[in-house]
Symmetry: C2
Subunit: 238 residues, 2 copies
DNA sequence: GTCTATATATGGATAGAC
DNA sequence: GTCTATCCATATATAGAC
């Protein structure tokens, strides 16, 4: 769960000065065989930060609140993450790992109906399980992606480019209607993330204190049906 | 363009103490027949505020930046709007006026295909013309709707309830597939607002400096086609 | 590696002259 | 009704004792 740049992770570090790590070197190797204090503290800070950044945004979040939620003194937070921005970057990097891989179901050999239904279900599962991750991401984009712009224009853009090619293949094979592949991906993103990012509105309209399993099941079914009927050719849907 | 509560506007004032207006009374009635100084200053502040709140969120926005963008000294802003929160509330109220009415196209007598296509086109037009309005709203919801929660649970909820009834009618008449009406509305909202709220991501993926008329035309067509094929019965789509 | 105390900056809001 | 100067609260970040 290290937040080190290992060069295989999507890097969002390029936008600002990427400072070097902790003084480094003397990593505590405790009797139980792990540098556990640092690790567990970092994880707790990252989890607390995800919640607070989701609820308050970058500017609204305070290091004091994050530290309190992680049950650590504020100065300790600054020991592990020199600046608020560095902590935020680490949270964002964690979030991206979640988002990235689900699109990999889109391969030319697969049936679009299956791949798309699975994707919708998977994204909605994340919206339920990690709503704060989704919100941090949404907030970042909403405000112009100051920390993530280069990631969007590089990693993400290429990835969508690839998947658009797969969708074009499906269309050419007569399995999908002749739609614009990239706009189709936007629409998948939009409907699946809505339930995490706009949950307050969804709950208010449905009159729920919190969204239940049944609500998410209903959302998944409705979205799948709408999207599949919307994008498949009659023969493609079998 | 007054921001007064006239009781017919959707009220968002109930969450916090709604302070009385300016000292009041002596409204300048200038030679040209309008209280123009106040009015034009208020409008400029509201427009500046919409932009800044959209870009930075409530906490990230500073009254200094808003005032600068409106080309007024900061103290002047506080003369017209006592607090940052009051100014924010006024911006939100403006935004809600835009959002509310478009759903009125949903009436039992109309053909769903037409009503829905018009709605999608109208919402996307707003996403293009007033992206900042959309972003302010999105940001408010994203962070738990601290200023708007009661509006969501009352006005908005009732409104969606009404429209859900219309959709059920369409379904009963065999014009639409048997979907969940409220989830369907969520999906309409999600896809149409995506292009305003997530424009940075959309632009990055499409490789555009800014979204063009053609991009919005493509979005409109793609969304309409997906949604209509997705929700109409074969006979319903004629 | 932890934590108290504090330096420093920023931003919301207002006093009071014009 | 306008605007300069300023008050004061809050927040990031660090120094330095433990």
């Amino acid at each position: 769960m290290s937040r080190q740049r290992t060069a295989r992770k999507p890097s969002i570090s390029s936008d600002k000065s990427s400072k070097t790590r902790r003084p480094g070197g003397l990593r505590k190797i405790s009797a139980n065989g792990r540098g556990t204090i640092r690790e567990s503290n970092e994880v707790r800070l990252l989890q607390a930060a995800e919640t607070v950044f989701a609820e308050r945004g970058f500017s609204g979040a305070t290091t004091a609140e994050i530290a309190a939620r992680a049950k650590l003194p504020k100065a300790n937070l600054h020991y592990y993450f020199r600046t608020k921005a560095e902590l935020y970057r680490a949270v964002l990097a964690n979030v991206l790992e979640l988002w990235l891989d689900e699109l990999d179901r889109f391969t030319p050999e697969r049936e679009p109906a299956e791949a798309i239904a699975e994707y919708v279900a998977a994204k909605l599962k994340w919206s339920r399980m990690r709503p704060n991750a989704s919100k941090v991401f949404a907030n970042e984009i909403l405000h112009g992606a100051p920390f993530m712009k280069s990631y969007l224009s590089n990693d993400l853009r290429r990835r969508v480019e690839d998947k658009a090619e797969v969708i074009r293949h499906w269309i050419a094979r007569g399995k999908m209607r002749p739609l614009d592949p990239k706009h189709f991906v936007f629409q998948l993103w939009a409907v699946t993330q809505h339930y995490a990012d706009f949950d307050v509105q969804v709950r208010a309209v449905l009159g729920r204190g919190r969204l239940t399993d049944r609500d998410f099941a209903a959302a998944t079914e409705n979205i799948s049906a709408l999207i599949l009927h919307g994008c498949l050719t009659p023969s493609g849907s079998r």
